[in-house]
């Protein structure tokens, strides 16, 4: 799936698709269809046995069936409506809890004093859930009552009419007891068979939703016989690249997105974005540092996405070592590059497992060496559990600077030829910043690096600076020449490159 899919689709919906829909689809075969078979056979056997024992009583038992089917249908419709409401309310409660009881959510509520408002909103939703549950329970009781009443009426009818027949010697006592026993096995299967269609439809909806994911055409495809060069030196070029983000309809799945009414969308817009990159060409030799500078929305991050082949350009091409990335094998390309984002993601796992994500076969010594180069080894070593320390949800146990150095260590461990780096805009303290800069120096040495630069020191050290504005490279050169030309770069420089305006 393209990156846009993960930014648009609701996480809970993707999880639901992988867990609940699969279970629901499975039940279609293991439960619904097999139950229909069992119920049909059981019902036929029971009714045949009843007709064999006493046709009039068998007819009387079957005539009572609507007494259970009609209330079940009415109660079922209402319960399904109530259940949908309950799911919506519980979903809201779930989101409320997971957002408010996360590190970031709790911090926001504490700082903005929103606890009272949050508690009130939670309370309202809790009350709505309670009202809904009570109504559901009542309708369930109605349904169970109808079923129980019909079963009891059938038993009364059997004992009354059957009893009269026993008195008149037209029916044996044993037959009467057998009929009463069999009658208890009639209404359950009748109700179950009446629900087969609905269960089948539900199971098929699950199938449809699973196939929706399976059938989604990938936007970035590996060609059947990709090029697999023995080694990548890291020469990168872009030639006349035009790019715009694909339409939501192409990138995502409507049923995985939630509308303002809290329900899954039926359709997605079919319009792509405006042009994000316009006729971009560049070349970077192995070992060269290229700084990408420009205002917000200039296309710097998108450029990095294209280099990593998270998307393909609409026009023009991206090449590594002269080979178009669309011709390269995926594993060769991913093996050749690493990305260090501004806010690196850490899995809720040990430090060692997070680092080994880049190279699972790395030895403990190699992991430690990468951390030494990233200036983070001493810190990890000082922790009680060392490399076995859990990073916490999204790595919250570590500060921004520490997470970035861990991400740098992860990239060092991967040893890529091409490095895509988004410098942190957050203000690190001077000591941490010095450590991060040292770590970055180790990481970039000898690699083709593209840096979305926010710091003057990085820009100055770059071999070439590309200034982007509204998708075009408007200036290129080194620090001095660009300053002399007096263009956008000079403005950005005077505004201070660290400013968010330069972050893009």
């Amino acid at each position: 799936m393209p990156m846009a899919f993960f930014t648009r689709a609701r996480q809970g919906m993707i999880q639901g698709r992988l867990i609940w829909e699969v279970m629901s689809a499975e039940q279609l075969f293991t439960d619904t269809l097999s139950a229909a078979f069992t119920d049909s056979l059981g019902l036929v056997a029971t009714v045949v046995a009843m007709f064999w024992l006493s046709p009039p009583i068998a007819v009387a038992v079957l005539l009572l069936a609507p007494l259970v089917l009609i209330p079940a249908d009415l109660a079922g419709r209402r319960i399904r409506e109530l259940n949908r409401n309950r799911n919506r309310i519980l979903g809201e409660l779930n989101t409320h809890i997971s957002e408010r009881l996360s590190v970031a959510g709790a911090l926001l509520a504490r700082v903005f004093g929103g606890q009272d408002q949050d508690v009130r909103r939670f309370d309202e939703r809790g009350r709505a859930a309670r009202r809904n549950t009570i109504e559901m329970q009542m309708f369930q009781s109605l349904f169970m009552g109808a079923l129980s009443l019909t079963g009891s009426l059938a038993l009364v009818a059997i004992y009354f009419f059957g009893g009269l027949s026993v008195i008149s010697h037209s029916l044996s006592l044993g037959t009467l007891i057998a009929l009463a026993t069999l009658a208890q096995r009639v209404y359950g299967p009748i109700l179950d068979l009446a629900s087969v269609r609905l269960n089948l439809a539900g199971g098929l909806v699950a199938f449809e939703r699973i196939f929706e994911v399976l059938d989604k055409e990938p936007m970035v495809k590996e060609r059947p016989d990709p090029v697999r060069p023995a080694r990548i030196s890291g020469r990168v070029s872009l030639d006349g690249v035009w790019f715009r983000y694909p339409s939501p309809a192409l990138a995502s799945i409507a049923s995985l997105e939630i509308g303002a009414d809290g329900r899954a969308l039926k359709r997605l817009p079919d319009e792509p974005s405006d042009w994000i990159l316009r006729d971009v060409s560049l070349a970077a030799e192995p070992g060269m540092v290229t700084a990408l500078v420009g205002p917000t929305g200039a296309g710097k991050t998108t450029l990095c996405y294209l280099l990593a082949r998270l998307y393909d350009p609409d026009r023009g091409g991206v090449a590594v070592d002269g080979i178009d990335v669309r011709d390269l094998a995926f594993d060769i390309l991913t093996g050749a590059l690493a990305m260090v984002p501004q806010d690196p993601h850490l899995f809720h796992d040990t430090v060692r497992a997070n680092l080994r994500y880049a190279r699972p076969q790395a030895s403990d010594e190699e992991v430690a060496e990468a951390c030494r180069k990233a200036r983070i080894h001493d810190l990890i070593d000082s922790l009680p559990d060392g490399y076995e320390t859990m990073t916490g949800e999204r790595g919250y146990r570590f500060s921004g600077g520490e997470k970035q150095r861990l991400a740098i260590a992860r990239a060092i461990l991967k040893d890529p030829r091409i490095l895509l780096l988004d410098e942190a805009t957050s203000h690190l303290d001077s000591e941490t910043e010095a450590l991060v800069q040292e770590a970055l120096g180790e990481l970039m040495a000898g690699r083709t690096s593209f840096v979305i630069a926010h710091r003057l020191s990085t820009v100055r050290a770059a071999h070439q600076i590309l200034v982007l504005d509204r998708g075009r490279i408007v200036e290129r050169g080194d620090h001095r020449s660009l300053l002399r030309s007096g263009g956008l770069y000079r403005q950005l420089y005077l505004a201070g490159l660290e400013a968010p305006a330069a972050a893009g």
Binding site: S34, R80, Q140, L173, T175, T181, R185, V213, L214
Partner: protein, 132 residues
């Protein structure tokens, strides 16, 4: 009762038509396990027929064994009841094992899950049996 399960479904599902193509496509995941499925259906069929037997045996106990004070017939008929109940219980366990423990249930489920997961998370070179 399985009707209970329908109460938790989305109301819109009740109005949907049955798409046979979808069933056919879903069947492709189960097809490798069709022999197991047949054994499962045979076991459930036998189980549902056995449900009728206790009523008929009780009838014989009340109408034949008790009025004639026939202890031998009573013993045979109650032994028959025990046999029916034990067989039903064993069939029930067998059915559950066939539907969950072996195939097709768990196998097709894990197949769908890993295929859907790889479709969502990976680049498309490693597509599973989704196109089967």
């Amino acid at each position: 009762m399985r009707v209970w399960g329908t109460f938790w479904r989305d109301p819109e599902e009740a109005d949907r038509s049955i798409d046979l193509d979808l069933i056919r496509r879903g069947w492709t995941f189960v097809r490798p396990y069709r022999r197991t499925l047949l054994v499962y259906l045979a076991a459930t069929g036998a189980g549902s027929l056995l449900q009728v037997a206790p009523a008929l045996l009780i009838r014989q106990i009340v109408d034949l064994a008790l009025p004639h004070r026939d202890a031998w017939a009573l013993g045979l008929l109650t032994a028959g009841l025990v046999l029916v109940f034990v067989s039903s219980s064993l069939l029930l366990v067998g059915q559950r094992w066939l539907s969950l423990g072996s195939a097709p249930g768990s196998s097709s489920r894990s197949g769908w899950r890993s295929t859907a997961s790889s479709s969502a998370c990976r680049w498309p070179s490693s597509r599973g049996p989704g196109r089967a």
